[in-house]
Subunit: 373 residues, 4 copies
Amino acid sequence: MSNSLFDPLFGADRVAERLDDASWVAALVAVEVALTAAAAEHGVVSDADAEAVAAAASSLRVDPAELGRAAVEGGNPVIPLVRMLRAAAGAAGRAVHPGATSQDIMDTAAMLLVGWAGEIVLDDLRGAADAAARLAAAHRDTPMIARTLGQQAVPTTFGLVAAGWCAGLDRARTALAVELAHLPVQLGGAAGTLAALHPHGPAVAGALAARLGLAEAAPWHTERSRIGALAGTLAVAAAACATPATDVVLLSGTELGEVREAAPGDSSSMPHKRNPIAAITARAAARRAPALAAVLIGGEHEHQRAAGAWHAEWQALIDLLRAAGGAAARLRTSLDGLVVDPERMAANMALTTDDVTTGHAGELCDRLLAARP
Amino acid sequence: MSNSLFDPLFGADRVAERLDDASWVAALVAVEVALTAAAAEHGVVSDADAEAVAAAASSLRVDPAELGRAAVEGGNPVIPLVRMLRAAAGAAGRAVHPGATSQDIMDTAAMLLVGWAGEIVLDDLRGAADAAARLAAAHRDTPMIARTLGQQAVPTTFGLVAAGWCAGLDRARTALAVELAHLPVQLGGAAGTLAALHPHGPAVAGALAARLGLAEAAPWHTERSRIGALAGTLAVAAAACATPATDVVLLSGTELGEVREAAPGDSSSMPHKRNPIAAITARAAARRAPALAAVLIGGEHEHQRAAGAWHAEWQALIDLLRAAGGAAARLRTSLDGLVVDPERMAANMALTTDDVTTGHAGELCDRLLAARP
Amino acid sequence: MSNSLFDPLFGADRVAERLDDASWVAALVAVEVALTAAAAEHGVVSDADAEAVAAAASSLRVDPAELGRAAVEGGNPVIPLVRMLRAAAGAAGRAVHPGATSQDIMDTAAMLLVGWAGEIVLDDLRGAADAAARLAAAHRDTPMIARTLGQQAVPTTFGLVAAGWCAGLDRARTALAVELAHLPVQLGGAAGTLAALHPHGPAVAGALAARLGLAEAAPWHTERSRIGALAGTLAVAAAACATPATDVVLLSGTELGEVREAAPGDSSSMPHKRNPIAAITARAAARRAPALAAVLIGGEHEHQRAAGAWHAEWQALIDLLRAAGGAAARLRTSLDGLVVDPERMAANMALTTDDVTTGHAGELCDRLLAARP
Amino acid sequence: MSNSLFDPLFGADRVAERLDDASWVAALVAVEVALTAAAAEHGVVSDADAEAVAAAASSLRVDPAELGRAAVEGGNPVIPLVRMLRAAAGAAGRAVHPGATSQDIMDTAAMLLVGWAGEIVLDDLRGAADAAARLAAAHRDTPMIARTLGQQAVPTTFGLVAAGWCAGLDRARTALAVELAHLPVQLGGAAGTLAALHPHGPAVAGALAARLGLAEAAPWHTERSRIGALAGTLAVAAAACATPATDVVLLSGTELGEVREAAPGDSSSMPHKRNPIAAITARAAARRAPALAAVLIGGEHEHQRAAGAWHAEWQALIDLLRAAGGAAARLRTSLDGLVVDPERMAANMALTTDDVTTGHAGELCDRLLAARP
């Protein structure tokens, strides 16, 4: 995966820290501990056992590589992790994994990771949107030529253009925040009936959700519309980054020269070049997002646990978060220090027109900024 | 393509009627007429001209094939349509297309079509969900074996399984209804500044939205996050159909035989076969949806009108509506008359267990049905 | 699908004629007639019956809409078509569809359609490549500035740029021609064992292939790697069109102005604009191709006939051919009359450098043109 | 991401070793050293300098994380690597990176990695195909019921089914081997004209190719049809693994029970279960492949170096190799020890028919096996 080599370049380093092997292990352990505690709340296991499990978990050292190798046999890392936890907890091991199936733990842990990583994505989306908003406010009345189908058209303002970037980023961010605020717990047991926790199943599930800060939900082992919606939202967020990034690349072009990044990159062969690297890599990061979302949306989750479509989600979801988060981070860098050249904008516009009427541009810019969430 | 031959099979015939050439022409004309009327409301054109334009439009006969050929030169059908309308309106032709650019008309017309076709998609999603809910209620306590990773696991009920189908369909339907309730008008003029309508631009845009039943919106020529969100939602809806369809296919298999469609198909070579054709074609219809959504989400709409990414939306959006609508229609047929065989369920379950404890299945089923939107 | 309205704009009109309902019906009938004749060659049916079937088929009038409606029940149009053919053939009806299953007929007919439509795609790819080659030859020594990452870099020649376009188009065309030269017949019968034709199965399959100009092949009902390879090749061909089209769009931009299309489009609001519509619509047409190819490649064709993945191929394959063919046709138009402006190229280059050394550009251009297939 | 945790499960561990950060660094260094040596062959740099560069490179220790951080500024790791190499080589540093641009080194290194990783993919595809062939030979005459559209149809043999798996795997493997045998060198310099090496450009490029075991090629900085073809081929290979894996999952189902994996997985909640984990994870690994291929095929590589589409290839290509390689590795495990149950096949078939005629199944099986490449 070449994480260390490419992650900084594509902006994924910060979000990746919350998606790495150690994060997965931490999330899986956190879910098991919370499940035992939730079961204890409702008398399914004893409080003493629950405390012992929590203590054992807190001192458990799990080597992800070893866990990964052990995961092969049963098809997921929960099975060996439960073995390790039980061994570490001694007699209290009987209180580990009460009433749960592997998918309960994996799905719930995945939602925790989405929440952790999603915070970073939101933060960078907000940072990028704020930068766009600052550009819009500063250039509310800076005329530039609009370009449609690649051709100079009639005047607009750079403020309106940047306000449009901001609107897309804010819209995507708001939609993502809604998804992140409703990440669901998963607890259904072997068949999704909570049978092994009967008659305390829904109560334990509710307690588990509360302990982990997740939303209550009926078991959704194969009802994956939430995952699909989350995936679509992440892809739209990545695309909302790609559009301003594309504009920065084009407006930075030698012949246009209307903007430039604060820290444009140089070249291994051409010292005179100033490449808008942050915008370029934002586009690159965003590019995989729609395809990964399609993988996540399109799974046909058969019967009561899908034999493949479910497993395929783990890497696709991580990659999608990395792609969206990376695009946001790199765009934020691009916009944060973007240098705008109003003289160049004026000169370019003069190629086509000396009419600088910008219609409602200023008013529309104000309206977009005033409507920011 | 091959509409007449394949549309009925893949359930697209009903939704396609609202997406065909004639619908596009009707939508484009409706937008132009409403725009002129909205402009008249604010004194941009005269009431008399607006009435003349409306009259001319109402008697205008547009041959889609001719319009299609004429569209090649300028790159979209609005340019020749405006010419036709102006010619038909005589002196009032000056009041046609006031302050607008082609994209204003195309995007707004596309939103009308999405609304028209979306109604059908919603109706079939509701029909499918209702059928699933009926199955769930009727089989609240019908035990069946849960199957996880293809293997028999422990008991559940068919009611809970069908309630899960219903939940996915309802969730997708609700999300789609939200999108459809906020379809935005597009009016920005050549550069998105509404300059040619100044100082009445926003007022005319608002009047246009009101006349067409669309939501007001600042120009979104290249801020396509709404299109991305709509596309993602349609793909999730298609996927919410594919999952129950897959279950029907698998549960109908000879060895399982737990359900069968009311009108299973026969075979050109094997008269004894009973194929669950509606479910099969629902799956097939759904299969293109995520990929088409990825196309729509992933466009990088550069500058003030994209040179390609915008044009690519028209067919992709139509196809996506056809795919999602087709999947919903075929699933509805599949579930509407689904015959359930509790004896076979019991016999299959007996292969693995004689424990018929179904835990909280009934309660979870009730909860899912009670929460229906 | 809005064929008449949008097909000319996206270049799909010519290829679509070979992919429409009538073409499907013609292909299906042709396969049935050839199958009966092939069976007669090997004594499976009588020559007299075969002649009667051929005669009946030649006067059979099939309404695609009626066939489409009749296809719903059994899940494909072959079942009702066989009924119609048998009815038309009277006593010789017993010789219709000997030993075949619906998938044999559908798959073989699809291969015929791919061959018919593929000719058009190849022709337009060749036309586009030839136009690129002419541009390359004419501008072998026309200096222009290379642009890397959007920035002016160092000199190249327009000849080398156009030769690169040509190379991509030729490579894609050659790969597609290889696929088209090996389109396989499908004949396996109900289970892929040719049992109903025993002991003449392979001989009849060979005769069928010969009659239809297809390649012999063991039954491939669920071995779809050929379809996947074909799909990938079509998508690569579309992409090979998108790259030059993108260059034309960018080089046509007002500030660059180095090329322009022979018949640039005007605008509904800005008479001064000259939009490179052919290139724009080539890009748009190409954009769906990779996603459609992914749908075709990614089907998991289970057991001996897939319940959904197979059916999903029909529309995806047609759409992919339309997308690739449309991209090629529109690019051909774009390049055929492309007007190149060497003065503007020189002026733009002077922004960065007065060094006009173009290294091996001429030689590399020659080498690429000399290597044309 | 999460390499250690998930790679073994999804079969990517072996192929990932050739795609990790260290492999990238090794490949990049190897290309730089070979380029200097190739330049020395033609007198562009001195032999002494070339030897000094090679020596410096062989003792250079590059920390991928440090290189990754340093890559951010210029947009790729070549720029800082060249600095490091130059510093290490002292006076001979002038002979580092002669006439090259970053893309030359990145693309050529990527081709080396594809070659290294491709060997593993090929090996596992062959292993899986060989296992399928052994199953086919062993069960040439084992009757089983064919299932079409999920329903029992008429008899076939397990030998023919397994021979079909083998055919798909062999076809995909052969196509991949062809791609891997023609991986091209990239050397074009800043503008693709080899100007900085003039008049030795093509000669140096040829020498570079020879030293690295790559194919000679005119510069292909934005002519990416080879990358598209490679991507399509890898996705088809993944799909060729997914189809047998799907069959194994379905045939292993409790009610069918016709095959089982040698080491089926157990469950965290149900000790009686025997899950076909290798096949399940093969399907999961394969699932991302078509979408990743679509990303790679669909890049529009503008001008003389794409600002985003190029950069997006690096991770997508790695992921695609991991997905295809993982699918092949896991399928190989699944098939290598697959246990077939002829009695169960017979019993299942008896549900529908007591006719065990298998037509040409044996002969077709022989033919497929005899035709193996």
